[in-house]
Symmetry: C2
Subunit: 244 residues, 2 copies
C-alpha cells in the first residue's frame, strides 16, 4: 500500500505557532523531509523520526524524494515554514503527483504565513484589503512583479512583501519603493519584520521614504500601509472603519 | 494590577487548526469573549471558563467590554475565527486601548485566515502573488472595493474574496465578476469554498463565467485564479514556475 503525503506549513518560529493538525500529522508520519533550517526549528517535535534534510534551492529534487518515499509505503511530511500553500511546496507536490498519475493522496496542512505573523507583531495593519507580492524574480519575470507592484499601489492595498532582498538581489527593493512612492505618501507607515517569532525577532516601524535605511534581508517581511494606515502607541494600525 | 488582552484568531473549523500559542492563552486566561458561533466552535477547549458571548455586529461594544474586563484585573481573550488580524478585532482593540491611554498590554495571536484554509482545500492556488478583497461595503465605500477589484484583476493577482455575499448584499458579487471578466478569461478557475474545515465543508471547482450559478453565502471564501492557474486531477494549481 502506498503512503500518504502531508505538505505541512509549520508557521513562524518554533513549535508555538503550529496547528494541532500539523503536530498530529508530524507525530504520526514515518518520515519528515525539509530544508535543514526548518527541520531545526521543530526538532523537538520530530525526535526519533526518520528525517531527510536538504539544502536550499533543491525544491524539485526534494519533492521527487517525497514521492518516492510515499511510493514505498511510508507516510511522509514535507515541511516548510509559514504556509506551504503560499509560495511554497504545495504546488510542486500536486503538480508532480498529477504528472506521475500514481494516485498518491496529498493533504495540504495550512499554516500561519509570514504576512499574518508579521502583521500581528507590527500591530493590526491588515484590517482592510491587502496584496501579497514576492520580489524574487528567480521564477517570475521582473516585469510582472513591477506591474503587480504598480497595481497594488494604485489600488491602495496594504502590501505585504515577501523575499524583499537577498545577498544577490539588492536592486529590486529600490525599484519597488520608487513605484509605490508614485502613488503613496513618503510618510506611509512601513513595518520591517525580521525573524518573526524566532529568538532574534525584530520589528522596525519606519516610513516608505526611510525604509531603505534599515536592515532588510532574507528573513524580512515588509508591510507597507495603505493611505489610511497610521502609527499609534508604537503599533501600526489600518482602521477597519468602526466608529470608536 | 491590570489584566492583559489577547486577541486570538482561532483559525477555521474547530480546535484542530488553532496554534499551540492560541491554546495556551485560552487555557491560561480568566475570561473568553466572542461572537457566540465562534465560542461554540471551540467550547471543549474553554470549558469551565467565564465566557461572555455576544451577537453579531456588536464589535465596538464587545471590545469595550474586553477593555473593562482587563481594567478589572482579569486576563481576557477576545476570539474570532480565522486570523483576528485580518478584517478582525485586532485593530479595534488597539485603537480603543490607544484612545483610553490605560497602558493595558495587548497580544495579537495570529491564526490561519480563510484565504489559507480555503486554498489548502482547493489545491495550491496561492503559489504566486495574491490579493485579498472583502466585498462588504458596510464600512468601506463600494467605489474603493470596485477600484481594488479592478487593480487586482489588471495585475493578474490570484484574488481571495471575503464576505462575497450575505442575505442583504447580493449585487456586489455580480459587479465583482463583471469587473474581473474584463481582464481575465471566462474559463479562469474559481474555487468556491464553504465552511472550510467544519462539518459541512464543501469545495466547488468552477470558472469565472459559471461561478454565480453556485451557492455563495456568508460562510464562503472565493479564490479566483490568475492567468496561469489550472485544474489538474481535481486540484486548483497556480504554478510557481519550477521545471518539473
Amino acid at each position: 500500500m502506498k503512503g500518504k503525503i502531508f505538505v505541512v506549513g509549520t508557521g513562524p518560529g518554533f513549535e508555538e505557532y503550529l496547528s494541532l493538525r500539523a503536530i498530529e500529522v508530524l507525530k504520526e508520519c514515518d518520515v519528515v523531509v525539509g530544508y535543514k533550517t526548518y527541520i531545526a526549528l521543530i526538532e523537538k517535535l520530530i525526535e526519533g523520526k526518520e528525517i531527510v534534510s536538504s539544502g536550499m534551492r533543491r525544491e524539485v529534487e526534494r519533492c521527487a524524494m517525497v514521492l518516492e518515499i510515499a511510493e514505498s509505503g511510508k507516510n511522509v511530511c514535507l515541511i516548510s515554514s509559514g504556509d506551504s500553500g503560499v509560495y511554497g511546496m504545495a504546488g510542486v507536490v500536486l503538480e508532480m503527483v498529477d504528472k506521475a498519475q500514481n494516485g498518491i493522496e496529498v493533504e495540504i496542512v495550512p499554516g500561519i504565513t509570514s504576512a499574518l505573523s508579521s502583521a500581528s507583531l507590527a500591530g493590526a495593519p491588515l484590517m482592510n484589503d491587502f496584496a501579497v507580492v514576492s520580489l524574487s524574480d528567480l521564477m517570475t519575470p521582473w516585469e510582472i512583479i513591477e506591474k503587480r507592484t504598480e497595481k497594488a499601489a494604485e489600488g491602495d492595498f496594504v502590501i505585504c512583501v515577501y523575499n524583499p532582498k537577498s545577498k544577490e538581489r539588492v536592486e529590486q527593493i529600490r525599484i519597488f519603493v520608487d513605484i509605490v512612492l508614485r502613488h503613496r505618501s513618503p510618510q506611509t507607515p512601513v513595518a520591517i519584520v525580521r525573524n518573526a517569532m524566532r529568538d532574534e525577532a525584530a520589528v522596525t516601524h519606519t516610513t516608505l521614504s526611510e525604509m531603505l535605511e534599515h536592515t532588510i534581508d532574507m528573513t524580512t517581511t515588509l508591510i507597507i500601509g495603505n493611505s489610511q494606515t497610521y502609527y499609534s502607541n508604537g503599533k501600526m494600525i489600518t482602521p477597519r472603519g468602526y466608529k470608536i
